[in-house]
């Protein structure tokens, strides 16, 4: 009976897939652990001065304290609300404009270069005008976030529309669809996966930009938290804030990816 039984074969297979899963978790964790170890040693053995780079222990204890007393959540939610509003306004504006620029070639040729030009202007450079126009508070930050995400989204929506399968457009034309019917029934649904890729990128940009926007005169948000930490010479708070920004950014990106996968399940083209 040299042949392995079915259950044994199952066992080895299960073990192999378990190992694979373990490796999948370990592999990306290892560099993080190494980074933390080097960081720790650098401070512990005095390679760098502690006031320049606090030890990971100090950073994580400040992070923990800010989580416990709720201040981290307060700042994070302030940033998230601003991003939420700025990004939503940008999405609601960009998708219709992108659809029009894609659907009507003349409009695309007319406005395309302008949008490209606007996109290349760093959103941070809007800060002086934003404050001049909207004063101090949430509004200038929301404006900056809007400017940061609206142009990339217009461009990705337009590109998505232009790439619509020509056969689908012919089917719609054959049935006598009006331009509006074509947009609503063919172009928009066909573009959704690509629009989603654009949204994911824009949301990432927003999350990067909000930190800078909050350093310009706001009294809340993760950007403010970092600036405040610097003013207090508390590098541990600065780094704790940076870690929080990174982790929340990852969660946002993951949420977009999951949403995209959901769309793919409903027959929209596969998004990678």
């Amino acid at each position: 009976m040299a042949e392995p039984s079915a259950s044994e074969a199952d066992d080895t297979q299960a073990k192999a897939s378990q190992m694979k899963r373990l490796a999948g978790i370990l592999l990306p964790t290892l560099p993080i652990l190494i980074l933390l170890a080097v960081w720790y040693c650098a401070v512990r053995f005095g390679w760098v001065a502690a006031f320049l780079l606090p030890s990971p222990v100090a950073v994580f204890s400040s992070l923990l304290i800010m989580i416990m007393d709720g201040s981290l959540w307060m700042h994070a939610s302030a940033s998230l609300v601003r991003v939420g509003i700025g990004f939503s306004l940008a999405t609601l504006t960009a998708i219709p404009i992108g659809l029009l620029l894609g659907q009507f070639a003349i409009a695309g040729r007319a406005f395309g270069p302008l949008v490209e030009l606007m996109r290349t202007i760093s959103p941070i450079s809007w800060i002086p005008l934003a404050i001049l126009w909207f004063g101090i508070g949430d509004n200038p930050a929301i404006f900056i976030l809007f400017m940061a995400s609206v142009f990339p989204l217009i461009i990705s929506t337009r590109n998505a529309v232009v790439q619509t399968d020509p056969i689908l457009l012919r089917v719609a034309a054959n049935m006598g669809a009006s331009p509006l019917q074509t947009i609503l029934n063919v172009t928009l649904p066909a573009s959704i996966p690509y629009i989603f890729v654009g949204m994911r990128i824009s949301l990432g940009i927003c999350w990067v930009v909000v930190v800078a926007a909050e350093m310009a005169g706001l009294r809340s948000g993760l950007g403010y938290l970092i600036l405040d930490g610097r003013n207090l010479l508390r590098s541990d708070i600065v780094i704790a804030g940076m870690i929080a920004i990174g982790l929340i950014g990852l969660v946002l990106d993951l949420a977009m990816t999951i949403a995209a996968r959901q769309l793919a399940r409903y027959g929209y083209l596969k998004v990678t």
Binding site: D165, I167, L168, R170, V171, A172, A173, N174, M175, G176, A177, Q181, N185, V186, P189, A190, I192, Y266, G267, Y268, L269
Partner: protein, 260 residues
Amino acid sequence: MSDMITLKDVQKAFGDQSRSNVIDIGELTVRKGEFLCVVGQSGCGKSTLLNLIAGFLRPDSGVITLAGSRVEGPSADCIQMFQEYGLLPWRTVEQNIGFGLEIMKTEHAQRVEKVRQLINLVGLTGSEKLRPNELSGGMRQRVALARALAVEPKVLLMDEPFGALDSLTRLNLQIEIERIWAMTGKTIVWVTHSIDEAISLGDRVIVLSGQPGKIVATFEVDLPRPRIVADQRAVDLKMAILDVFGIHAINQPALLKTAN
């Protein structure tokens, strides 16, 4: 029988001096209810001919009429079907079939009923809620056929509709299309490069060839339906059509190969 489609002195060329994809049809008439097959090699202008009849392309000169009136652009009277199906991937089978009816703003209850009947007609009962990526090629083409029939066109234009299907599925669908054609009495213009398919389906087979693409031969297929391709008369007809393409020795595989 009255004329459904007429072409008179129709010419179409692409580009400036380009000699490719040019078509030149002196005269072509398709009778109401006729099943016309168009055969020819790749690049002879078969698809261009369909696009002209469908109104997706305008001829450089000449006149095309559909049901007595001049073709000025695409219309639901004349629905084109494609080898690539052209289904909307985010819509289910029934939503795809109802697409044209939605565009025409057909009343909801009426639409639902019609879609149900068509699902029955094309043999898709039980697959109503599936999406195109869950269907086989043959089933997808059935959906496309039902969607085309839903808007009650006078004419169906089929551009290699079964070109992407395996040969058994293809034969099956040929039988189906013949049954549905007989039931509905639609006029069909069917482009294919399969001579067997043309002989088994067409009332008439026209051969398109040359640059510019012209109708170089016309064959009436006067055989009882359903047809058997192995029938001696069908074989004779096939030999005659192959002869047009300069393929004379059907029983010599080496010669066939070079001709292809």
